[in-house]
């Protein structure tokens, strides 16, 4: 199998860095809308959309409330969640526990 994608990969990598950099231009604006307590409804949606990308969905009652905090922060790294999605999912899981 001959792949010619390498001819453009450096351009692609540079584009990736630029796209990510540009995406942070909105960070300061979005920070003002930060909901530090999390939102149950948003959390339920984020939980459904993100967790099942890789694994079977876990029952909120499987872990204690404090364990859901570390688990969700671990998943923030693994799944590329935003901080707000993380807080929303924790709110959903702890409320449903």
């Amino acid at each position: 199998m001959k792949i010619n994608l390498f001819k453009v990969y450096k351009t692609g990598l540079a584009s990736l860095i630029v796209i990510i950099g540009l995406s942070f231009l909105n960070v300061s604006v979005a920070e003002e809308k930060k909901d530090t307590k999390g939102d149950f409804a948003r959390g339920a949606k984020a939980w459904v959309d993100n967790c099942v990308r890789c694994h079977n969905v876990r029952d909120p009652k499987e872990l204690r409330d404090d364990q859901w905090i570390t688990t969700t922060f671990h998943m923030r790294i693994r799944a590329g969640l935003t901080g707000q999605q993380t807080r929303d999912i924790i709110k959903f899981l702890q409320t449903s526990n």
């Binding site: 995406s23 364990q67 688990t71 590329g80 901080g83």
Partner: protein
């Protein structure tokens, strides 16, 4: 005389009257004493109940404080991980029970700012010895809502399988896709520094990214040919040039479809010698390209991935030629509605610089979900190597995987 009698009568009358009054007074006092006794008893009962209530309230306060501590302490500790046991029967070998692995994951979190994550990997060799290694160990700093900085040994962010799908309770088949095992086409881990996070777009779809700089891999040669690329997360950069790369993923056009692109570039060199006394030849180019997707229409779970690692030529090396490892797979799983049963099928291919190691693979399987994190799997692998005439490498794999 009359006066005397009258006085006597008055005296007697007074005495009788006085006695009657005294008896009334006594009755009154007795009644008051009774009342006071009753009140004293009531007071004692009240005190007893009050003390009991105070004790209960104190106990509840302690419990509430304890609960609050569990809910939101400054430092949190959590043990997660996964393990699996099973049985493997390859066509040309005797079937054996096996212990796939035990991988505890430690999480130590400080507030919502830092987290230390470490995964240990315990395995049993064919000879019965136990081995232990560090799958990853990172300290993560959650800088803001959109970025975390990760330093240490991390699972390669290139592609999906190695970083997210490899735990046995997540992988829907009892084996990794061909080419996605350790030191094959998909990079396994690296040691360095990474920025990763996500971003929610106006359309409410999200994107995620990971960018890293790390020591990169090393090559192993067998005579004049490159035999293997090692990506276990090396503690030394032998080629003198760091590898940079990353993955960009986006949910598009819907939240149930994710598409990802992975790219990396750097240098790599051939390592020789023994541990503690390694030497490295002249470096050569090293490039990785990959793409992946996952899609969840209804009860289906469909995913696929392509990854390729390529090294350039180096005329001064004992193994001068360029080469590449490439692998791909597409997998579909279907969860039968109202049951705990799941059917899975996967097709994949692994191309290496050495034709005799190439594999074409088809795997089918049936899973029973005892719980969402406790899965019994039975898989059958059809392995074919047309370049080496390999015709008896099919395998039956039975596995019980538990994620905790």
């Amino acid at each position: 005389m009359n006066i005397k009698l009258t006085s006597l009568a008055c005296f007697v009358g007074l005495a009788i009257s006085s006695n009657t009054m005294a008896q009334t007074e006594i009755e009154k006092l007795r009644s008051e004493v009774d009342t006071l006794n009753k009140k004293a008893q009531e007071w004692e009962a009240y005190q007893t109940i009050k003390q009991k209530i105070e004790k209960d309230v104190s106990l509840l306060n302690d419990k509430a404080r304890e609960w609050e501590e569990w809910k939101a302490p400054k430092t949190l500790v959590h043990l997660a991980g996964f393990a699996d046991v099973g049985y493997t029967d390859r066509q040309d070998q005797t079937g054996s029970f096996n212990f796939g692995g035990f991988s505890p994951i430690f999480h130590y979190q400080f507030a919502d700012q830092f987290m230390l994550e470490a995964e240990l990997e315990f395995e049993i060799t064919e000879g019965g010895k136990s081995t232990a290694s560090i799958g990853y160990l990172t300290i993560d700093w959650f800088v803001n809502d959109y970025m975390a900085l990760v330093a240490g040994k991390f699972l390669s962010p290139l592609g999906q399988f190695r970083q997210n799908i490899h735990p046995s309770w997540i992988n829907k088949l009892a084996s990794a896709p061909t080419g996605f095992g350790h030191d094959q086409a998909a990079p396994n881990a690296d040691v360095g520094f990474m920025a990763r996070g996500g971003y929610l777009m106006e359309s409410n779809n999200s994107m995620n990214y990971a960018l890293y700089i790390a020591n990169g891999p090393t090559l192993e040669a067998d005579g004049s040919e490159i035999d293997m690329i090692e990506t276990p997360g090396l503690g030394k950069d032998g080629d003198g040039s760091k590898t940079v790369g990353g993955r960009f993923g986006m949910f598009f056009p819907a939240s149930k479809f994710e598409f990802g692109v992975s790219l990396a570039t750097g240098n790599v060199s051939v390592r020789s010698g023994t541990a503690g006394n390694y030497s490295y030849d002249a470096s050569r180019s090293y490039d990785v390209v990959g793409t992946d997707f996952n899609w969840r229409p209804g009860s289906f779970d469909v995913r696929g991935e392509f990854i390729q690692q390529e090294y350039g030529a180096q005329s001064t090396s004992a193994a001068p030629d360029s080469g590449k490892w490439a692998a791909w797979y597409v997998q579909a799983a279907y969860r039968f509605s109202g049951t705990n049963w799941e059917a899975v099928a996967r097709i994949g291919e692994y191309d290496t610089p050495t034709n005799s190691k190439d594999v074409e693979q088809v795997t089918v399987g049936a899973n029973y979900l005892f719980a969402t994190n406790l899965v019994g799997k039975m898989s059958y692998e059809f392995n074919d190597n047309p370049n080496a005439g390999l015709t008896a490498a099919n395998r039956v794999l039975v596995q019980l995987a538990y994620g905790f």
